[in-house]
Every structure is written in C-alpha cells, then in structure tokens.
C-alpha cells in the first residue's frame, strides 16, 4: 500500500513520461502543446505532493512555485499557438 506522497509521486512521474512520449510522437502543434502541459502537470504534482508531508505547517513555497509555473505554461502555450496560426496564414497565402 502506497502512502499519499508515494501515490502522487508515482502519478507525477507517469504523467511526465506520458507527456514526453506524446511530445516526441505527435506531429500536430496542438497535440504537442497538450503533451507539454501534461508534462508540466506532472512536475507540478511532484512539487506539491511533498508540501504537506510534515505535520504542522504546509510549505507554501512549492505552491508559489507551481502558481508561477502555471502562468508561465499558459504564456508559452499562447505564444506557440499564435505562431502556429500565423504560420498557417502565411502558408495559405503562399498557396494562393
């Protein structure tokens, strides 16, 4: 029987592996972004799973780190999707 920390650590590492595999194997940009975000969720889970191990104070530093990480991930995804959209417009124009 796994403890809570072990269980979520396990889940985090599997998510990370899944995300990396998806990033390598998928060709479509949207799928790559989803894979990157799943990788990110895995890493965030790794950070948060240990924040409350010790009885008493919950460590807020990993929480703050994950909050920052979520915002950075959204920013990166938004930029990637924008570039892909611009690239598509340009490709269509070249085809015309």
């Amino acid at each position: 029987m796994m403890s809570q920390v072990e269980l979520y650590t396990f889940c985090a590492v599997i998510l990370l592996g899944m995300g990396m595999t998806g990033l390598i194997l998928n060709q479509h940009i949207i799928r790559k972004i989803i894979a990157l975000n799943i990788m990110g969720i895995g890493i965030f889970m790794l950070l948060i799973s240990t924040a409350g191990v010790h009885s008493g104070a919950i460590d807020p530093v990993p929480h703050a780190m994950v909050l920052t990480g979520i915002v950075v991930a959204v920013a990166g995804s938004a930029l990637a999707l924008n570039l892909a959209a611009r690239l598509k417009d340009m490709t269509e124009q070249a085809d015309d």
Binding site: Q4, G19, I34, N37, I41, G52
Partner: protein
C-alpha cells in the same frame, strides 16, 4: 481501505486515464476537451493536497484559459 486513501487512488486513476486518452484519442477536438477535463480533476487533487490557491489557478488558468486558447487555435488551424 480508508475513504481518504480510496479517494486518492480514484483521483490518480482518473488523472492517468484522462491524460492517456487526451494524448491517444484520434479526434483533436476530443483531445482538447479531455485535456480541459484533466485540468479540472487535477485541481481537485490540489485541493486534496491542501493547495487551494493552486487549485483555483489551475481551474481558472490551467484548464480555463489554456482550454479557451486551444479551442480558438483548433478553430483557426482546422
């Protein structure tokens, strides 16, 4: 098995299931919807782990904003 532990196992199972199907499903639109749902389940996990701030941010930004942008991109790249 205590109820808390059961809940944890269910959540982990759900997360892995949704993540795998978001990566494997053949229709792109379904992949996006599955990813958004994954974000919502993950925010439940954050609440379970005592990170309510992160849970709100995950639901609003991680699932919400990313989801909206993915859908907008899906519509445009189609």
């Amino acid at each position: 098995m205590p109820i808390d532990s059961l809940l944890d196992h269910l959540l982990v199972f759900g997360i892995l299931l949704f993540a795998a199907s978001a990566l494997l499903v053949s229709k792109l639109f379904s992949a996006i919807v599955l990813f958004i749902s994954l974000g919502l389940i993950v925010s439940l996990v954050w609440i379970r782990l005592g990170a309510v701030d992160v849970a709100i941010a995950e639901a609003a930004i991680g699932a919400g904003v990313t989801g909206v942008m993915l859908l907008a991109a899906w519509k445009r790249l189609r």
